[in-house]
Symmetry: C2
Subunit: 127 residues, 2 copies
């Protein structure tokens, strides 16, 4: 009978950690652990070309660190795995509730414009 702690699988664990251990991917994870974000939003956030961002997302997705959900043309990525969220909490600090989604100036993604647009509409005279 195996007592309690089975030796951790260092090979598999380190393989997943390797995906985390990358400046741009870590930045992506920090963003999408707060709220699901689409590719074009991350593109603006990182200031990197879209194929580059998609490639890093693929690496994270195939490694099982993130999952994606489609909405029309947009694909939203988020950190679904609770274990990965715990890793990020330990590494980057826990995510505080108020910082859910950050609106980026110059980002045309639905989550960024859907907030900005109504403010303009409300100012139209004779509404």
């Amino acid at each position: 009978m195996q007592v309690n702690s089975v030796e951790p699988d260092f090979v598999q664990l380190s393989a997943q950690l390797k995906l985390l251990a990358h400046p741009e991917r870590l930045r992506i994870l920090d963003a999408i652990r707060r709220a699901p974000e689409c590719v074009c939003h991350l593109e603006v956030l990182l200031g990197k070309p879209q194929p580059y961002v998609s490639q890093q997302l693929r690496i994270l997705r195939e490694g099982g660190l993130i999952c994606d959900a489609r909405d029309g043309l947009n694909t939203y990525y988020c950190v679904c795995d609770l274990r990965v969220r715990a890793w990020l909490d330990a590494i980057l600090g826990p995510v505080d509730a108020q910082s859910a989604h950050t609106v980026l100036s110059g980002c045309g993604c639905p989550k960024c414009v859907r907030v900005a647009l109504p403010l303009v509409v409300e100012f139209t005279p004779g509404g």
Copy 2:
């Protein structure tokens, strides 16, 4: 005035995580977070040649993840940084108190023989 959370340094963080994200180094860290261990003990633990082990230890040491203390001929390594210990707790699970140092059969390091030897000495007749 900066409100609260300064953006984490993703470059530096990922550089340190990269050192962690390696099967043999992760295994080393798991061992020495429980108790300080010398190189020859880790050599037996990993089943890798000594220069290989020393090299991984150097990488971890120069990255600031571990520190070393000399005792005679032996050099004992341990995880001194509390932040790194927290990472390891999150990744490998917290270390339970009873598993401090594991005696390895075939290891001639002081910590492994110092435990085995007295048991024999005590059995000498007319002690």
